[in-house]
């Protein structure tokens, strides 16, 4: 049985930086709960000898040789940038209202 609580939905919304109203949290809790229950049916048919699926496409070892290719020009790199300074993207103050979630790399 998979279920999801309002608190979990609110937490996920915060992690994803999505501002949800109470009504939206309620309806999303219902909808996500149904999705989880639907997916949970897999557990009923999967036996321990069925390996977990890593990827829907049955491919492995897709590699690229270590050879440099074409890079973007300065114009292309900054074409869509709202603000540029010294050939770098200028971004607003990072530590703002939202809690910092910077990880350890």
């Amino acid at each position: 049985m998979s279920d999801i609580t309002r608190d979990e939905v609110a937490h996920l919304a915060e992690l994803a930086r999505i501002d949800l109203s109470d009504a939206e949290i309620s309806s999303l809790t219902d909808q996500l709960g149904q999705i989880l229950q639907a997916v949970a049916q897999v557990n009923e048919v999967a036996t321990p000898d069925v390996p977990a699926t890593s990827h829907p496409i049955p491919l492995t070892n897709v590699f690229r040789e270590d050879i440099p290719g074409e890079t973007l020009t300065t114009e292309q790199v900054f074409g869509g940038a709202p603000d540029v300074e010294e050939h770098m993207f200028r971004v607003p103050s990072i530590l703002g209202d939202a809690p910092a979630t910077k990880q350890g790399e």
Binding site: R64, G69, V77, G104, E105
Partner: protein, 499 residues
């Protein structure tokens, strides 16, 4: 925030430190982990960038084969099991250093796990450092914070360079390291030093801590002596030299001990190391379950590594840093102190290559730990950035042995090499530094000196040969030092007996 500390010895009487390390190694592949953008340090900002590096819609990552090979070799050097099958995962966080809002890393299926690294302290103690895992991931871009103190706190804006975004990294994670006691700071330093030597020997990284190609996050906690439960840990970041690893651990032990002894508790948080003050300051709170919403990376397929491939790559793993040091120390016949100078200076490789190029171990050591290190310190740079190669040093030594130059002149020749004037032979030729081996030129100078100091000549003739020293000095001066003092002495005595 308190900056009180307890004396180190007292802290160790009361508490036992437990450490853990996350060492990030940047691989020196030609291209990035998932894109063909060049992997070059120090280029103009945002020049080594492809659409993938900018997280543009419609782009897809493709794994760099060489990066996987390097990771497997490193895993083997760490004594790890190489996974038959492993996969990548997305680690989500919002931060402008990676524009796609997640980092491609490995989570539940790392490529390497369960190993150990042997380290040996200068004082001879040996420790086995348990390795939990080594996994592949991509590096993030570089941020420059504007306004305030240059740190993220108080910054008004930040500038982003994506040249580093996507550079292949291997993150090596240890298990908790217990039982080091008061040796904890040295063990920390030696562990990172051993990893550095290991990746250098494997040839898979530039291994430059000062340039960030090896980075260390140090976790440490204290528990009362005799306790078994682990204390609350802090994670110190921004450590960019071996010396700092040692100092940061020592400082955190002293800081945490003062808080605990006063009845306080440690905040689980990251701490930033400050090289200048030798202290750490609070970073951000951290929980054991930081919520990164890890999920299998849907854009990449699993990597399978056959046992044949593992066996083949195992053949390419060089001897471990500890074994290599033991072997070289014996081969070179250095004393404990001499060898320590070489190791601490990070000069094992260059000394080895200089010996291979024909110099004696003693001469190689003398030049690298002496004059060359002195010049590097004077210029405030690392020895390896100087324009002198092991072949140059061997060449310099060969010129001395052949009698072409004297020890004193050799320093001038080295200075020429360091200033980019070419090989030692080229410097000797261009600056006309070769010893005057033409006896007639020497005799001319000797005659001149003898005739201007007839009293000395008389002394020499009366058997006081030590008086010849004054004439040798005058001749060497006239020859600007470019003469073999022994030959000059012979000629003086010869001349004195003739006149």
């Amino acid at each position: 925030m308190s900056s009180l500390t307890m004396p180190f010895e007292k802290a160790l009487e009361l508490f036992e430190p437990v450490m853990g390390f996350e060492v990030h190694v940047e691989l020196n592949t030609a291209t990035k982990m998932f894109s063909w953008a060049p992997n070059e340090y120090g280029d103009e900002p945002n020049t080594n960038v492809t659409p993938l590096c900018l997280g543009l819609p419609g782009t897809l990552p493709v794994v760099n084969k060489q990066a996987v090979t390097s990771s497997i070799r490193l895993g083997l050097a760490l004594g790890c099991h190489i996974a038959e099958s492993c996969r990548f995962a997305r680690k989500h966080y919002f931060y402008p250093d990676l524009p796609k809002a997640y980092q491609i890393s490995q989570f539940d299926e790392p490529i390497a796990s369960e190993g150990h690294v042997e380290i040996e302290l200068e004082t001879g103690e040996v420790f086995q450092i348990p390795i939990e895992r080594a996994h592949m991931e991509e590096d993030a871009g570089k941020l420059t914070h504007l306004g305030g103190s240059g740190r993220i706190q108080g910054a008004t804006a930040s500038l982003v360079d994506y040249n580093r975004a996507g550079v292949p990294l291997v993150e090596i994670v240890t298990k908790p390291i217990e039982g080091t006691g008061a040796l904890a700071p040295q063990v920390a330093r030696e562990y990172v030093s051993t990893i550095r030597d290991m990746v250098k020997a494997l040839g898979i990284s530039d291994a430059r801590m000062d340039q960030g190609s090896i980075r260390c996050d140090a976790n440490i906690s204290l528990r009362p002596r005799g306790a078994t439960k682990l204390g609350t840990r802090t994670e110190t970041k921004n450590i960019n030299s071996l010396k700092s690893v040692e100092r940061a651990i020592r400082y955190e032990i002293q800081r945490q001990a003062a808080i605990l002894a006063a009845g306080g508790s440690i905040m689980q948080e990251t701490r930033n190391w400050h090289e200048d003050s030798g202290r750490t300051t609070a970073g951000r709170p951290k929980s054991d379950a930081d919520d990164y919403r890890y999920m299998p990376e849907p854009d990449l397929v699993p990597i399978l590594t056959s046992r044949e491939r593992v066996a083949e790559l195992a053949q390419t793993v060089p001897e471990s840093p500890v074994l290599r040091r033991r072997r070289l120390k014996q081969e070179w016949g250095f004393t404990e102190l001499e060898f320590r100078d070489v190791v601490n200076g990070g000069l094992v490789d260059v000394v080895e290559h200089t010996v291979e190029a024909g110099a004696s171990p003693a001469a190689a050591r003398k030049w690298w730990t002496g004059e060359i290190t002195r010049v590097a310190n004077e210029r405030g740079v690392e020895v390896e950035t100087l324009q002198v190669t092991p072949a140059d040093v061997a060449g310099l030594e060969a010129l001395i042995e052949a009698g072409t130059i004297t020890d004193r002149i050799a320093r001038q020749v080295l200075a020429g090499v360091l200033d980019g004037e070419g090989t030692p032979q080229q410097v000797v030729d261009a600056r006309q530094l070769a010893v005057v081996s033409d006896d007639s030129a020497l005799l001319e100078a000797i005659d001149s000196a003898l005739s201007s100091q007839p009293d000395v000549l008389a002394k020499i003739q009366s058997g006081k040969v030590q008086a010849a020293g004054a004439i040798i000095g005058a001749v060497m001066k006239a020859m600007h030092g470019q003469a073999d003092a022994k030959r000059v002495r012979e000629l003086i005595l010869e001349r004195a007996s003739q006149s």
